[in-house]
């Protein structure tokens, strides 16, 4: 039996709990005022914003486990939001039609990365850097600087399958995390992804369809980023070409503090989502500390390094990968 201690995601959960406890203590209000950080409304806010990173971080973790890297999620988020917005607001398409179209555009970005990596054999860094530029550029060309707010055209009190709008993207994140966690650990596809990341040549010799699995990984990463973009556009009402600038690095960082190794072969989908929550809490709580506003990027950078170094020390002590 696997002991609880062996579960890799445990240390990420511990860090998240300690982080929440720290901010709850540090920001404890004087007197009887309500807690500015530790309350249900704020928790929902953290979840809502983190889910944009978290959904895409699932894809980033899978790509990283396969030994690759995807730099395009930020740009894909922006492009899909813009496409959904343009079709829904300007084109008067139905919500379902416009979001489906946006999802397909996002998947097309993933297909482009897949072709460049698997068939053209570009290094993933270069291939997805190119796709990132193209997706971002396309978003600017479509909007010509306009801004789409889908939420104001939605009927008041609109719910998705009976779920209040604010809850949809956190629930989507949790559901996707569970689905992909099971796919990665209980399905041959997930094992093939790990095998390719661990030793691509041995995977080929062992009968893994290396090209096909690699292609699926980039497609999934972009499709998940597209879902993030749609969530951003629909739930938060934002569809804008310069949105989600630099998200790709936060998304990769989420996967990495969740246990993914950039050398490939190691990582966890659930860990990546927890990583996104760790960043979400930091981004939510730091501005509430007086005078910390200008420190938040610096602290986020330090946190990445500290967590990854701690993880390495822990792995070395256990003596296994």
């Amino acid at each position: 039996m696997r002991r609880l201690w062996d579960i890799r995601e445990l240390s990420t959960v511990v860090i998240l709990v300690l982080e929440i406890a720290f901010f709850a203590w540090y920001l404890w209000p004087e007197g009887a005022r309500s807690h500015p950080f530790f309350n249900v409304g704020n928790a929902l806010l953290v979840l809502k914003y983190s889910s944009i990173y978290g959904i895409a971080a699932i894809g980033a973790a899978i790509v990283i486990i396969s030994g690759g890297i995807d730099l395009s999620p930020g740009a894909v988020i922006a492009l899909t939001g813009v496409v959904a917005g343009a079709l829904f607001v300007d084109g008067h398409w139905s919500l379902l039609a416009s979001t489906t179209a946006a999802l397909l555009v996002g998947a097309a970005c993933g297909a482009a990365s897949a072709v460049l990596v698997v068939i053209v054999r570009l290094p993933p860094f270069i291939a997805t850097l190119g796709v990132m530029g193209i997706a971002r550029g396309a978003a600017f060309i479509i909007t010509e600087g306009r801004y789409y707010d889908l939420s104001k055209d939605l009927p008041p009190g609109w719910r998705l399958l009976g779920v209040p709008l604010d809850w949809t993207s956190p629930l989507l994140m949790v559901a996707l995390a569970l689905v992909f966690q099971v796919l990665m650990t209980r399905f041959q596809w997930g094992r093939a992804v790990s095998a390719i990341g661990g030793n691509q040549t041995a995977a080929l010799y062992s009968g893994v369809r290396v090209g096909l699995v690699q292609a699926s990984v980039y497609l999934i990463s972009a499709a998940l980023a597209a879902l993030s973009g749609i969530a951003l556009a629909v739930v938060q009402g934002q569809g804008k070409a310069d949105l989600a600038m630099g998200y790709e690095l936060d998304i990769i960082a989420s996967a990495v503090i969740g246990g993914a190794s950039l050398a490939g072969g190691r990582g966890s989908v659930v860990g990546a989502v927890l990583g996104a929550l760790i960043f979400g809490v930091l981004r939510n709580a730091l501005p509430q500390i007086p005078g910390a506003t200008f420190y938040d990027r610096l602290i986020v950078g330090l946190v990445v390094i500290v967590i990854v170094v701690m993880d390495q020390l822990l792995q070395r002590r256990k003596g296994t990968l």
């Binding site: 790990s194 661990g198 072969g265």
Partner: protein
């Protein structure tokens, strides 16, 4: 006076002794060959000469004076140049950049004297009859030119002793001729040439003397004018064969007489019986590619066929072509009587044909996955499974027990295992899918004798259950002990076939190393 003298040189890597008490001398201005089987210690000796390795004991004397070379730079400074077997060049630099890499001609403040280097490079290239410009990118040069470029690099540093490690393995006959003409010129200019090769005709053509190493020990130095090729081969392989076979051996099957096909009962009984397979499981006809030429062979169900050849003979390429890792230009592959052509190892595995590759680190094992997943993956892929079954854990435990792989549990990663157990794991992971044809490339490379014995047991057990086994090895005693028949490959062709009962090291070596020999 001797230019180079090895004086009681010992060198070990871990527990493996690569050189033991080697002493001999190379005269100034002569061409001296160092010959021996794979693993005899030739390359180690050259690396000591070139300052890449330091001897554990003993010393190297140059012109009578003991020297301690701690870096390749020290050897270069003393006029010793080494042309490596695997070509060490900078593909991103120009020809002249490669010749002077590390010892560029510089002016004041370290400014590169490009024009002077280009001029020197032009002279050297002319001396080697190389029709290339110093500005050519090395990437675009043919292999033979790259080899000569290494010679140019050595000459640029006023090299008086030039050592070459198997320089002709990747050259065509015409290209090798060119190299020999140049080496002849250099000899006339008074350069001492040390030539490592297992191709005896080259040795006789170029060298005045030849030193034979065997198992890391000095055997004898021959004067090539007085020695025959047979004498040298005998010195290369002349170990007590009976000892190796007694330990690793099984009853040899006689291939010449009639009798029943292979069965485990007959094996245990120690009887000799006929091999010529009733049922050919694997057949190749006229297999041809860039690395081999019209190879035809048959392996029967339950038969173990050894494929012997020296490095560069095309053995690995042949196995990789069977499972679709390389393409062939012509030829047919017949599996169980049906013509097939595989485009990937996956297709081959689905048809029951598996390759256990040579390099377990690079081609075989997943060091990020547990033993359980390592063992289950190929079979699951071949079954086109979607779900990862929980029964895999007990299957893996059974496999570890069955093949006696010493591991603390199925949850550890392969890096905690010893080399021998890693090698057994590598074999076991492909056996788990129940192959009909088993291709093994150097199945006991770098493992100790005990593990070797156990891997031989695994192969025999598979053969006894009716699997056709084709074993590539450069370990001749291993093939003699393991195989029913031995095919000898040289320069991409099958040069002969010997029944194991008739084979001895000398006959096999003669086929593998000399073109004119007849079985």
């Amino acid at each position: 006076m001797s230019a180079v003298r090895f004086h009681h040189v010992d060198k070990s890597f871990g527990a493996v002794a690569a050189l033991r008490d080697v002493s001999f001398a190379i005269d100034a201005g002569e061409a001296h060959a160092i010959v021996g089987e794979n693993g005899a210690g030739k390359s180690t000796l050259l690396k000591i000469l070139a300052g890449e390795l330091r001897p554990d004991r003993g010393e190297l004397r140059l012109g009578g004076e003991p020297v301690a070379l701690s870096r390749p730079r020290d050897a270069l400074a003393r006029g010793i140049g080494l042309v490596h077997q695997e070509m060490i060049l900078f593909p991103n630099l120009s020809v002249s950049g490669n010749i002077f890499a590390g010892r560029e001609l510089t002016g004041r403040f370290g400014r590169l004297r490009e024009a002077a280097m280009r001029e020197r490079a032009r002279d050297l290239l002319a001396r080697l009859h190389l029709p290339v410009s110093p500005d050519t990118a090395v990437e675009s040069l043919p292999i033979a030119y790259r080899q000569l470029l290494q010679v140019a690099r050595a000459l640029a540093f006023d090299c008086r002793t030039l050592a070459l490690d198997e320089p002709t393995t990747s050259l065509t006959a015409a290209e090798a001729d060119h190299l020999f003409r140049i080496l002849g010129d250099l000899k006339r200019d008074g350069v001492t040439v040390i030539y490592v090769s297992h191709r005896l005709p080259e040795v006789f053509r170029l060298c005045e003397r030849a030193t034979v190493l065997r198992d890391g020990q000095f055997v004898r130095t021959f004067r090539t004018a007085d020695a025959s090729s047979d004498e040298i081969v005998q010195a290369m392989v002349g170990r007590a064969l009976n000892v190796a076979q007694g330990f690793l051996g099984r009853p040899k099957r006689d291939t010449r007489e009639g009798g029943s096909p292979a069965s485990s009962a007959a094996l245990k009984g120690g009887a000799t019986f006929k091999r010529v397979p009733d049922r050919a499981a694997l057949g190749l006809e006229g297999f041809t590619s860039r690395s081999f030429d019209h190879v035809s062979l048959v392996v029967g169900a339950g038969e173990i066929v050894g494929l012997f050849g020296l490095v560069g003979s095309g053995r690995t390429e042949l196995l990789e072509s069977i499972v679709g890792l390389r393409s062939i230009s012509e030829g047919t592959l017949v599996i169980d009587g049906r013509t097939c052509r595989f485009r990937s190892p996956r297709e081959a595995a689905r048809a029951g044909v598996v390759l256990v590759p040579e390099e377990r680190q690079r081609q075989g094992l997943f060091f990020n996955l547990s033993l359980r997943h390592n063992l289950a993956l190929p079979a699951a892929e071949a079954r086109r499974a979607h779900l990862v079954r929980s029964s895999e854990r007990s299957d893996a435990e059974a496999l570890l027990r069955r093949w006696r792989i010493a591991a603390p549990s199925t949850r550890v990663t392969p890096n905690v295992l010893s080399g021998g157990n890693q090698q057994k794991l590598l074999t076991a992971k492909w056996l788990a899918l129940g192959p009909r044809v088993l291709l093994l490339d150097e199945p006991t490379k770098g493992v100790d004798v005990g593990a070797k014995y156990e891997i031989h047991g695994i192969v025999r057990e598979m053969a006894a259950s009716g699997v056709a086994c084709l074993v590539v090895s450069s370990d001749l005693p291993e093939l003699l002990a393991l195989a029913d028949r031995i095919l000898v490959m040289r320069e991409g062709r099958i040069r002969g076939e010997l029944a194991a009962v008739d084979a001895d090291e000398e006959r096999v070596m003669r086929l593998a190393a000399t073109p004119e020999a007849v079985a």
